[in-house]
């Protein structure tokens, strides 16, 4: 079971085994329980909503300006789906290091 967002390695889609689907997850399965933070460049985000719709942890939402933003207080599972699937290269998922202070650029989170 994928620790990040609860999906099983062999993902069932439309009743069929679909290991390739959401393969992004398998890549991060090894990186156990590192919590991460999502940053979004609002200037580049076009608000298509793909990241919001498919985020397994429901970390993202569309803000009042129509751009994606991270919802405060929900832990990102660092699966990387949003980063791989953002057509506008507007999302960065950064791993939080335990020692590092929480000084990631929040300005972008709108």
């Amino acid at each position: 079971m994928c620790a990040m967002h609860g999906c099983r390695p062999a993902f069932r889609v439309a009743g069929f085994m679909a290991t390739d689907l959401f393969n992004a997850c398998s890549a991060v399965m090894t990186k156990k329980k590192e919590s991460a933070e999502v940053s979004i460049y609002p200037d580049w985000c076009k608000g298509c909503g793909i990241c919001v719709a498919f985020c397994p942890g429901h970390v993202l939402e569309l803000g009042p300006d129509g751009k994606a933003r991270a919802i405060q207080g929900i832990e990102c599972r660092n699966c990387g789906f949003c980063e791989y699937h953002c057509p506008d290269f507007a999302i960065v998922v950064k791993t939080k290091r335990s020692t590092a202070k929480k000084e990631v650029d929040h300005a972008h989170e709108g």
């Binding site: 439309a14 393969n23 298509c48 793909i50 953002c86 057509p87 506008d88």
Partner: protein
């Protein structure tokens, strides 16, 4: 994860204005990301990569990446790429085309490039429609779906790109959707590594022109459609025929090895050289 976007930024042209011109939710950007990651993974230098693009939305993505980029004419990207590859076989030539571009106006070039097995990676961004000109029917618009030039439903059968490429002689044929990014990364990387004409069809949604007219409320609905209907080839083959008709197989559809045209040509030249001395 942060390295993914940073990596892409390393390959973007920062004197070009971002965000790019493509519509919100257009999958072309995802394909571009996939392409960049593949180039990076193979350790290719920016100088040895040539992106040749046709006309259409797909053609526009060439300008954003810091490789040698050639934005050619409608449907003819493969012909330019053939010239470039034969003139300098050391270059890694990647041809980015749309479905209308590669298969309607450029259908003949597509067949012949596959037949000659010239060493190119052909990347067809299939969005089932002419996006840039306002949503007209292309040769891959599914039967019965709507477009500005098929207001009562498309009456013609559409092309199956991978079958066509295979029949024309392409040694490596693969298909993925932009939702299945890891698969897309993998097939593009393989295509870049292999000799000869290698085709990757990337299904990428066009909500603005296609989705809207065909009962997809949002872009996200189109991605959900891919999630539901794109089936790995192995699983697909086990389906009953009636089910198969409704689904699209993804993955490596066919793979074989034949020497590429430029290799054969070099061999012929060395034979001539040998005969002379």
């Amino acid at each position: 994860m942060a390295e993914v976007t940073q990596l892409i930024h390393h390959y973007l042209r920062h004197n070009k204005r971002f965000p790019h011109v493509l519509c919100p939710g257009c999958g072309h950007g995802i394909v571009l990301g996939s392409l960049v990651r593949s180039v990076h993974q193979l350790g290719l230098t920016k100088d040895e990569v040539v992106i040749v693009a046709g006309i259409g939305c797909s053609g526009r993505i060439a300008v954003y990446v810091d490789f040698n980029t050639v934005h050619t004419t409608h449907g003819r990207a493969l012909t330019f790429a053939t010239g470039i590859k034969m003139a300098n076989p050391k270059l890694k030539v990647i041809v980015v085309m749309g479905d209308g571009d590669a298969l309607s106006i450029g259908g003949n070039h597509f067949l012949h490039a596959a037949r000659r097995n010239i060493g190119l990676t052909a990347l067809i961004l299939n969005n089932n429609i002419y996006g840039m000109t306002g949503g007209q029917t292309s040769s891959t618009t599914p039967e019965s779906s709507y477009s500005t030039t098929s207001p009562f439903g498309q009456q013609e059968q559409s092309f199956d790109i991978v079958k066509l490429a295979k029949a024309a002689g392409a040694p490596y044929v693969a298909r993925s959707t932009v939702l299945h990014v890891k698969l897309l990364d993998r097939v593009i990387t393989t295509a870049l590594e292999r000799p000869g004409f290698n085709l990757v069809e990337a299904l990428t949604p066009c909500h603005t022109q296609y989705g809207r007219k065909n009962k997809f409320k949002t872009t996200v609905d189109m991605y959900k459609w891919y999630k539901k209907n794109a089936i790995p080839i192995d699983a697909y083959q086990k389906l009953p025929e009636a089910e198969q008709a409704l689904r699209t197989p993804i993955g490596i559809i066919s793979e074989e090895t034949r020497p590429s045209l430029e290799e054969r040509y070099a061999m012929m030249k060395s034979r001539l050289e040998g005969a002379k001395s």
